[in-house]
C-alpha cells in the first residue's frame, strides 16, 4: 500500500472514522509493524486530551422561550381571511375610481379655438380707461 494512503487510513482510524471491516484489513496489513500506527494513535490521543475543556462544563437550564415560535404563529384560516379582505378592499377601490380624462373637455377646447377679440370689438363699461397693450416695443 502507498505510504500516504496508509497514513490517511491510520489517521481516519485514530479519529474513529473507519468501519470495522476496514479496521480489520488494516490490522492484517500492519501485522508485525505496530509502531506505524502507534505514533499516529498517540498524536491523536494527545490532541484529544489537549482539546478537552480545562473544567467540566455545566449545562445551564434552557433560557430559550418555548412559546417563542407559537406566539407569532397565525392560523392558516386567519391568513386566508385577511388575504380575501385585502383583495376585496383593493377591488372595491379600483372600481370606484373616477374615469381619467386625457383629452380636454369640449368647452375648454371651444374656448381655445376662439380668436382673441380686437380693441374695437371689446365693449368697455368700466370708469377706468381701457389699458393699451403694446405688442411692439
Amino acid at each position: 500500500m502507498n505510504p500516504e494512503t496508509l497514513e490517511r487510513l491510520l489517521i481516519d482510524r485514530a479519529c474513529g472514522a473507519l468501519s470495522d471491516d476496514v479496521n480489520e484489513l488494516l490490522d492484517d496489513h500492519l501485522a508485525g509493524r505496530p509502531e506505524l500506527a502507534a505514533e499516529i494513535d498517540e498524536t491523536v490521543a494527545l490532541a484529544r486530551r489537549a482539546l478537552q475543556p480545562a473544567r467540566a462544563v455545566q449545562l445551564p437550564p434552557p433560557r430559550y422561550a418555548r412559546g417563542a415560535s407559537q406566539a407569532w404563529r397565525v392560523p392558516v384560516w386567519a391568513v386566508g381571511m385577511a388575504a380575501c379582505f385585502v383583495a376585496g378592499l383593493a377591488a372595491s377601490r379600483w372600481t370606484a375610481r373616477p374615469v381619467a380624462h386625457s383629452a380636454p373637455t369640449p368647452a375648454v377646447a371651444l374656448a381655445q379655438e376662439q380668436p382673441t377679440p380686437t380693441r374695437e370689438e371689446v365693449v368697455w363699461v368700466s370708469p377706468v380707461r381701457m389699458p393699451v397693450i403694446k405688442t411692439k416695443l
Binding site: 490517511r8 479519529c15 491523536v44 449545562l59 430559550y64 415560535s69 404563529r73
Partner: protein, 170 residues
C-alpha cells in the same frame, strides 16, 4: 382533530424534541463554544442564542439529516458574528482566565502545536475530537464537501505529528 389542535400538538412535540436535543448536545456544544469564547458567560449566551434560533424554526433542525450538525452550523455562524461584534469588555488574558497548571510537557507541546494550526484545520480537529461529530456531520455543519473535511483533518494530524516529532528530538 381540527387543524389548530394538530398544529398545537406538533409544536409541543417539536418543543419536547428540542429539549431533548438541548440535554444531549448542549454539553458538547457548550464545551466547543467555551473553547472559542472562553469559559465565561459568552459561551453560555451563544448556546442559548443557538437554541433560540432553533426554536424559531424547530422543524428545520428536527428534519435535517443530522440535528447535531445543524446545531453546530448555527452555533458557528453565531460565534463568528460574536467575534465580529465590538467588545465592550476585553476578554481576560488567557493566563489569568486559566492559570498555568502542572501538566505533562507533551500535552503542553500539543497545546502549542494546536494553537499554531491554521484555523480551518483546527476547527475540523475540534469538531471531530472534542465535539465528536462524524465526518459527514462536520461537512454539513461547515457546508463544505466531505473530501475537504478528510483532507484538512489529515493535514492537521500530519502537522501535529511533525510538531511532536520536533519536540521529542529537542
Amino acid at each position: 382533530m381540527d387543524v389548530q389542535t394538530e398544529s398545537k400538538r406538533n409544536m409541543d412535540d417539536n418543543a419536547v424534541s428540542v429539549d431533548s436535543l438541548y440535554r444531549e448536545t448542549g454539553p458538547q456544544l457548550l464545551a466547543w463554544l467555551a473553547r472559542r469564547h472562553g469559559d465565561g458567560s459568552a459561551a453560555e449566551d451563544l448556546l442559548q442564542e443557538t437554541f433560540a434560533a432553533v426554536m424559531r424554526r424547530p422543524e428545520a433542525a428536527l428534519r435535517s439529516d443530522s440535528p447535531r450538525a445543524y446545531l453546530f452550523g448555527i452555533a458557528r455562524h453565531l460565534s463568528a458574528d460574536a467575534h465580529r461584534r465590538p467588545k465592550i469588555f476585553e476578554p481576560m488574558p488567557a493566563e489569568v482566565a486559566a492559570p498555568a497548571r502542572e501538566e505533562d510537557p507533551k500535552l503542553a507541546a500539543m497545546r502549542e502545536a494546536l494553537a499554531r494550526l491554521e484555523p480551518p484545520a483546527r476547527e475540523i480537529l475540534e469538531l471531530r475530537l472534542q465535539a465528536e461529530l462524524s465526518y459527514e456531520e462536520i461537512a454539513a455543519a461547515l457546508e463544505i464537501p466531505i473530501g475537504t473535511v478528510r483532507s484538512r483533518l489529515h493535514h492537521a494530524v500530519r502537522r501535529l505529528r511533525e510538531a511532536m516529532k520536533k519536540e521529542t528530538d529537542l
